[in-house]
């Protein structure tokens, strides 16, 4: 598992607000490893993991979008049935809540990187360590 810096971008709920952000990130050479779009009828939030979070944030700010970096946790989950359920079981009966999670865009091997937003994150890391997942 690893601590990751996620970039979150505010999107107004209007057609054509997402594409320019993605295009600009591409123009700045930002490679996206994982992403997720949360949407409501009022607004959207684009969340993603990039190779260089600070450079990605700067690129988004160039467009004038509100954006911030938040701390998430990446966990390599074995690519087999029950792989994710085992991870989730670590948090059974704990005070940790999982606000959201999403998966990386492409995985090469026999495991997949999942991105977790925990609350509180420190307690989540303790529980993960106690369960034998080493921090990279």
């Amino acid at each position: 598992m690893m601590r990751l810096k996620q970039v979150s971008v505010f999107l107004e709920s209007r057609k054509g607000k997402l594409a320019p952000v993605l295009q600009h990130l591409a123009d700045r050479g930002v490679n996206l490893r994982a992403l997720m779009l949360a949407e409501t009828d009022r607004f959207g939030i684009l969340r993603f993991i990039a190779d260089d979070a600070d450079a990605a944030l700067a690129a988004v700010h160039e467009l004038g979008n509100t954006a911030r970096i938040s701390e998430v946790v990446g966990i390599e989950v074995p690519d087999r049935p029950g792989g994710l359920a085992e991870i989730m079981a670590i948090f059974d009966d704990s005070e940790v809540s999982i606000e959201y999670l999403y998966a990386e865009l492409a995985s090469g091997g026999d495991s997949a990187l999942l991105v977790f937003k925990f609350d509180p994150v420190d307690r989540a890391l303790e529980l993960l360590a106690a369960a034998g997942l080493a921090q990279e």
Binding site: Q6, E12, R42, I45, N65
Partner: protein, 435 residues
């Protein structure tokens, strides 16, 4: 005609009556209201100087801003023990303006609202449905007192619950409706959607005010509801509805001049303007004793019509309102100032004072959207945090404005700024007020 003697008083006698009442008014406020005494002293005037109506132009003007400075009791000209009712209107910011009524003031209110209904042909035989809001807003109770003074069966429905409005209207055979013009259209649309034949029913007349409307809207309401629609005018600072009303000619609103003295001034210079010239309406209460008002600047733009009217009333008329000279918005009949929105936003931690108010009309109902820039400090990666922020702002706006607003969060710097100052209002409603 209701109170025919006074409504048809020859002009010279009417002016004499007005002068007597103005003298009594100035004497009253000079004696009882330090707010006015100080201003009269500053102007170097005493009640003894009011020897003719021309002196009125030398008396100090009063603004909504002045009035809220002395909230809540600073304008009372009668002891609190003699006040029997209170209404309030929203101020531009902070405190509202208070209107306090003695028993005599309520009698005056009932009288001028009875004249309002009578001017549109209503009588004691009518069944009057009051669909203005009851409460601190003056529309509901003003209409109510008019109906009961006239002797009509009066249904205090208040606003909203359109299904019940229509059911009651059909069950009781309502013949006269009082509400905002936009609500009248809403009722018409609702009836059509639910196959309720209002136009074929007993409803025959409507008295609509509290917001700007147009001749086109009148034609629409008259056709859809099968009624005659009359424009009525008033404001909480003066008394509420009942300051002026159209007669059957539907050609300007007669001011009930034995109770309210009208002037038109140039907004910039304060100079009086003659009949026919457009300017700001200034009104003085001639008979009220709770909270009498000297030369109130209404901010409403119109002109005086000083010609005989075929109806026989000798009072002057004002043209249908032609706009305002401040940034007040009237949304669903409620007065809204941009500064109120700003105050709310500044109370919510982290919100930048960049906002835009977008007023539109969805069908016949006004909508209010407040666009707020999404500051980095407010932003979260979690949807629930942002939704909670929106709800909090909407709740605060609802408390401050008294009407529902939808908050829309937008990216920073997207709200148009002109000359370094944000453009606050986008009004997409297309009401032409005959200007």
């Amino acid at each position: 005609m209701w109170s025919e003697d006074v409504q048809q008083l020859p002009t010279d006698q009417l002016r004499e009556l007005q002068l007597q009442r103005l003298q009594a008014l100035v004497a009253l406020v000079y004696d009882k209201v330090p707010f006015y005494r100080d201003r009269l002293d500053e102007a170097g005037l005493t009640p003894a100087d009011v020897t003719n109506l021309d002196v009125l132009a030398r008396l100090p003007l009063t603004s909504k801003y002045d009035m809220r400075e002395v909230f809540p009791f600073g304008l009372f000209a009668s002891p609190k023990s003699e006040i029997v009712e209170v209404h309030m209107s929203s101020g531009t910011t902070g405190k509202p303006v208070v209107g306090a009524y003695t028993r005599g003031d309520l009698d005056i209110w009932g009288e001028v609202m009875a004249r309002t209904l009578d001017a549109g042909g209503a009588t004691a035989d009518d069944i009057v449905q009051v669909a203005y809001g009851y409460g601190l807003f003056t529309g509901g109770l003003g209409g109510h007192y008019g109906g009961t003074t006239l002797g009509a069966m009066t249904l205090p429905m208040s606003s909203g619950n359109t299904f019940r409005q229509l059911n009651t209207m059909m069950d009781f055979g309502t013949t006269a409706l009082l509400c905002t013009p936009s609500y009248a259209l809403f009722i018409a649309e609702y009836a059509r959607e639910h196959d309720i034949d209002v136009a074929g029913g007993p409803l025959r007349v409507g008295f609509f005010g509290a917001e700007p409307w147009s001749e086109e809207m009148r034609a629409d309401i008259e056709a859809k509801l099968g009624i005659k629609a009359y424009d009525i005018y008033g404001l909480t600072e003066l008394i509420g509805p009942g300051v002026a009303a159209e007669c059957s000619e539907q050609n300007g609103l007669h001011i009930f001049e034995d109770h309210f003295y009208p002037e038109i001034i140039d907004s910039e210079t304060g100079e009086g303007l003659p009949a026919g010239q457009k300017g700001e309406l200034v009104l003085t209460t001639l008979t009220r004793t709770g909270t009498p008002v000297l030369r109130y600047r209404t901010r409403d733009i119109t002109y005086l019509i000083d010609e005989p009217c075929p109806c026989g009333r000798t009072s002057r008329r004002i043209h249908r309102l032609m706009g305002r000279n401040d940034d007040m918005l009237i949304i669903r009949g409620v007065n809204v100032f941009p500064q109120q929105v700003e105050e709310v936003l500044l109370r919510v931690e982290g919100v930048e004072p960049y906002y835009q108010i977008v007023v539109d009309r969805d069908g016949v109902m006004d909508t209010l959207e407040v666009e707020v820039e999404m500051a980095e400090t407010l932003f979260s990666d979690e949807v629930k945090v942002i939704l909670a922020l929106e709800r909090k702002i909407e709740h605060e706006l609802r408390l401050a404005l008294g009407i529902q607003a939808v908050v829309k969060l937008v990216n920073p710097k997207t709200i148009e700024r002109s000359e370094g100052k944000a453009k606050r209002i986008v009004d997409r409603r297309t009401v032409t007020t005959g200007a």
